[in-house]
């Protein structure tokens, strides 16, 4: 059952196709985009959506969101305009068996909200020792393979895993973090950590890991996506690797584009992230890389209950809620980085689509109609009640957010309406 829908009076932005047209209708038929500006032949609208004052953009693709309680989190995703969610494999149990991937994808389809794109575990139990059944996991729906934020300590094991993945042309997603240099740290090793007496994680923990991974890519030819880059030096290494035409992409968590270690303030546990928030210089370099299109943005959505957050800084679980703040925070970043709306939207639509290698994240005729209709000027207050996610943990609680999703469509079906 698919309805013919016309979305009228909105500003259509498709970063991939360089479309930015105001007051232009968009036609949806059979769950796919059927036309922009001009109705396809014989089109009869069965549903009209008025997008006056709103932007109509491809649905956002989030390269990292944890779905602890899947129904609430998928509802949160579409409330945030996110139509595809890449799920790290570090749930409990880790996603290292094809049947678990099957179940997750199936459950996602049942719920019929955002698309669930699971990452399969690279190694069994994410222990970094024995390979998981990558081909089986792929068949069950995994889009790539990852260790979430756990490191493979044994370099040889990582080499073999990447060789194996390369055999099948599978991509490996890794968060670059040297195990030894990061295991005792809880904050960026810098002036703030020195002052506050917090064990530090040096930038070297990221650069040494990136260096190792780059060498392994050279050797194996495996395609690698580096997740949640946190430092200027790390970005610089990645840039050089990309100039060398190595198959390496990367992303940055939205909070790392806006916050620094100064935001720890008086030991605010909501400022504890993995990787840690780093210095102003690092933040600036991350922002520059995203502006230049060398990195995509993701939310790194990590719901944490109050019992696990309201603890002394070093004991609090890292991470913040992300799905419902991805849009307003991206707009906030765009303003401070002086980039226009289409460029900002590209970082959460076409750029993630490219990383995934999927035909989504654009308003191209014939592609599946995953869309977000949002008001870029509307403000709302971030409170626990305003969030559909079970994760209420955020350093922005109580702050005004600018940018509100009015409706979200997946496969041409309205899955969220404000």
């Amino acid at each position: 059952m698919s309805t013919n829908i016309v979305i009228e009076n909105g500003r259509l932005i498709c970063p991939k196709n360089r479309v930015d047209r105001s007051s232009t209708p968009l036609y949806i038929q059979n769950g796919k985009m059927a036309g922009i500006g001009e109705a396809p032949a014989g089109f009869v609208a069965e549903q009209r959506i008025d997008a006056t004052g709103c932007v109509v953009s491809p649905g956002f693709i989030d390269l990292g969101a944890r779905l602890n309680s899947i129904e609430a989190e998928l509802a949160a995703a579409v409330a945030g305009g996110v139509t595809s969610v890449v799920v790290p494999p570090d749930a409990d149990p880790p996603l290292d068996e094809p049947e678990l991937a099957d179940r997750l994808v199936h459950r996602g389809k049942e719920i019929r909200k955002a698309r669930v794109l699971p990452l399969g575990a690279l190694t069994l139990g994410l222990k970094g020792e024995r390979l998981a059944e990558l081909a089986g996991l792929k068949k069950a729906g995994c889009v790539a393979f990852s260790q979430a934020n756990k490191t493979v300590v044994d370099t040889e094991a990582l080499l073999r895993a990447m060789e194996y993945a390369a055999t099948f042309g599978f991509a490996v997603w890794l968060q670059p973090q040297d195990h030894w240099l990061s295991r005792n740290g809880i904050a960026h090793e810098g002036e703030v950590a020195s002052r506050l007496g917090l064990a530090g994680i040096p930038v070297a923990a990221e650069t040494i890991a990136i260096g190792t991974i780059i060498q392994l890519v050279r050797i194996t030819g495996c395609r690698v996506h580096l997740t949640r880059i946190s430092s200027a030096a790390g970005m610089a290494l990645i840039q050089r690797a990309q100039l060398d035409q190595l198959p390496i992409t990367c992303d940055v968590g939205i909070h790392h584009l806006l916050l620094t270690d100064n935001d720890i303030g008086y030991f605010n546990p909501h400022a504890r992230f993995c990787p840690p928030l780093r210095s102003q210089n690092d933040r600036q370099a991350l922002s520059d890389a995203v502006v230049a299109g060398r990195a995509a943005i993701c939310s790194d959505h990590t719901p944490v209950g109050a019992d696990d957050k309201l603890l002394p800084f070093g004991e609090a679980k890292p991470g913040a809620t992300g799905l419902e703040v991805l849009l307003p925070l991206t707009l906030k970043w765009a303003e401070s980085a002086n980039v226009d709306l289409p460029t900002a939207l590209a970082r959460i639509t076409s750029a993630p689509a490219e990383v995934l290698g999927v035909e989504r994240g654009s308003l191209s005729t014939g592609t599946v109609a995953d869309l977000c209709i949002f008001d870029p000027e509307a403000t709302w207050q971030l409170t626990p009640e305003a969030l559909k996610s079970r994760g209420k943990n955020s350093p922005w609680t109580g702050y005004p957010m600018t940018g509100k999703v009015k409706a979200t469509l997946v496969s041409g079906r309205v899955v969220y309406q404000a």
Binding site: N184, E189, G190, E191, A193, S194, R195, L196, G197, L198, A199, G200, Y266, F267, P269, D307, L310, L311, P312, F313, G314, E315
Partner: protein
């Protein structure tokens, strides 16, 4: 700017850290402590200031010494003192830190003295009390992780003031494991706030935090260089329990380079005083001859500590 230690009138309501306190408050504490020194010299070592008030010593990290001095100080203020040694296992039996606090508030606690292994724990408690509207309950930090030990910093300043009078003419050296030391951080903030022109940190690279210079400290790796013409030498305990990595090869090598011997002490001013927060590791950071020598003021530090803690508790409890 919001300061969680001060109330709306700018008066001290919690003591969490020396960093962020204006000089006038440090002076107030030191002056008040001087009055309490006299109380400790009397036959009846009590004043009725905190009569009827309950002081809860919440020690998540064991420390008989510090806890005892806080207990003595609270009792000399006529308070009722309840000691809670909460080891890790009972906390891990489900009750979070804030749950514990809520329970104790329900038992009419007026003042919490908190020692915790995690930097920032007292701030979490103070913020929780603020959100609950309980500005009548006060928190005194007895040491949180590596971050701060403000009463120790204050008693160290009291000691220096007692022997040297004028902070603005001094050269002070802090020697040892500053990376892991909350005492060192508190001392550094206190010294710079009180106007000490030259604060020096002496230790190997592995035991000094990065960016120490941003706190206004001159870093020395050569102890003989660093001790030259110092008026005050603060020795830190080499803390085995805090070192989680391969930071030092041996206590022996440490002592050879960074231990305070009579020969090294001679490089400081002839009337320099030697301080140590205790407990001392003789032969590791300090030679017995120095520890027992005429320049060491380590035992007076303990006496001053009770008066300083009485001052802190009576000031916050009244605000």
């Amino acid at each position: 700017m919001y300061n969680p230690q001060l109330n709306k009138d700018g008066e001290l309501t919690h003591l969490l850290s020396i960093e962020g306190l204006p000089k006038r408050i440090l002076d107030q504490i030191l002056d008040t402590a001087a009055s309490f020194m006299e109380v400790s010299a009397r036959e009846v070592k009590k004043v009725p200031l905190l009569r009827g008030k309950s002081v809860f010593n919440l020690f998540f990290e064991n420390s008989t010494r510090t806890r005892t001095t806080f207990e003595i100080a609270a009792k000399r203020l006529s308070a009722d003192v309840i000691n809670l040694d909460i080891n890790k296992s009972s906390a891990s039996k489900g009750e979070t830190l804030l749950d514990t606090i809520d329970n104790l508030c329900a038992m009419h606690a007026n003042l919490f003295v908190v020692r915790h292994a995690s930097s920032g724990a007292p701030y979490l408690i103070a913020e929780h009390l603020r959100k609950a509207g309980r500005d009548d309950i006060h928190v005194v930090n007895a040491g949180d992780g590596r971050h701060a030990h403000p009463t120790q910093g204050l008693l160290d300043m009291y000691t220096i003031r007692h022997y040297k009078k004028d902070f603005t003419q001094l050269r002070v050296a802090i020697v040892g494991d500053i990376l892991h030391s909350r005492v060192a951080r508190s001392d550094i903030h206190a010294l710079t706030t009180l106007g000490v022109p030259e604060v020096r940190a002496i230790g190997p690279e592995t035991l000094l935090p990065k960016h120490l210079d941003k706190l206004g400290v001159h870093v020395f790796h050569d102890m003989e260089e660093g001790l030259k013409d110092c008026d005050v030498v603060i020795m830190l305990r080499l803390q085995n329990e805090r070192m989680t990595g391969a930071l030092l090869p041996s206590a022996g090598e440490y002592f050879r380079h960074y231990g305070l011997t009579p020969q090294k002490l001679a490089l400081a001013k002839p009337d320099a005083i030697v301080m140590h927060p205790g407990p001392m590791n003789r032969g590791v950071e300090i030679h017995s001859a120095v520890a027992d020598g005429s320049q060491a003021v380590i035992l007076p530090q303990v006496t001053f500590g009770i008066a300083v803690r009485m001052a802190v508790m009576s000031i916050v409890a009244g605000n």
